[in-house]
């Protein structure tokens, strides 16, 4: 039987000397009373930090919102000419800033829709399937109604951000968002 190390300061939960403890406890000795007492306080300190992080996150959202509000409504931008797309065809464009991919789909002679291309589930690019009446996200088989962007199947729960459109002089203009953010 190994001799007890006089420098070991740990106290087992049952208070018996270390040579009477199982091997695993001798390998990983802990001062049980102190550990119990101190770790709870440390845990509470950690909870305080987590709580502060949530407050920071909440105000970060508020800050982003106010930045967007201050930036104002996105500018009106010409994105296509009306006869550029046949019925059922789609065109990619960037709106309102470069890098924000959106997709314009012609549903009929006079009917156009445009959405942000990021799926609202995990941001995969969605693909138009006007023949099936939907926008399809191939990553997780998400489907959105092509007429209004509402999720109809798969994991997405939020509608696609819809770009407002206007037809003028045979041209299609984007004029802000109807719903959602990109």
């Amino acid at each position: 039987m190994p001799e007890e190390d006089s420098e070991v300061l740990s106290v087992a939960p049952d208070g018996r000397p270390s040579q009477d403890q199982p091997a695993w406890r001798r390998d990983f000795p802990l001062d049980w009373p102190e550990d119990q007492y101190r770790s709870r306080r440390e845990f509470v300190s950690f909870l305080m930090l987590t709580s502060a992080a949530f407050v920071t996150g909440q105000f970060w959202i508020v800050l982003i919102q106010s930045w967007r509000k201050a930036a104002g409504k996105p500018q009106v931008k010409e994105i296509a000419s009306a006869n550029e797309l046949a019925v059922g065809q789609a065109k990619l464009f960037e709106y309102p800033r470069p890098g924000n991919q959106c997709i314009l789909v012609r549903l009929s002679d006079t009917d156009f829709v445009a959405y942000g291309q990021k799926c609202t589930h995990l941001s995969c690019p969605v693909l138009p399937r006007p023949d099936l009446g939907g926008m399809h996200c191939p990553c997780h088989e998400g489907w959105f109604d092509i007429r209004n962007g509402e999720p109809v199947a798969g994991p997405p729960r939020r509608p696609l951000p819809r770009v407002g459109l206007e037809l003028r002089d045979g041209k299609v203009f984007a004029n802000g968002y109807v719903e959602g953010v990109i």
Binding site: L47, M48, T50, V55, Q65, R158, E179, V181
Partner: protein, 72 residues
């Protein structure tokens, strides 16, 4: 009785209770945060500020409990 005169066993019980209560508050904050994020991404702007203030109230409550704990 002054709070510093609690026996260690009593203090341990109090600390456990405070930790459990704080955990519930932090879970509430987590729920607030995810809900706010969901509504923000869906394009609604009305909920962010009230939710942020609610989170501050939770944090203040947590802080109060934390200070009480330090005085034990």
């Amino acid at each position: 009785m002054r709070i510093t005169q609690f026996a260690q066993k009593q203090r341990t019980t109090i600390i456990s209770g405070i930790a459990a209560f704080q955990m519930i508050i932090v879970l509430l904050q987590l729920w607030l945060f995810t809900t706010t994020m969901e509504t923000f991404l869906a394009g609604y702007q009305e909920t962010a500020l009230p939710a942020a203030f609610a989170s501050v109230v939770c944090f203040a409550l947590n802080g109060g409990l934390f200070l009480y704990l330090r005085s034990l």
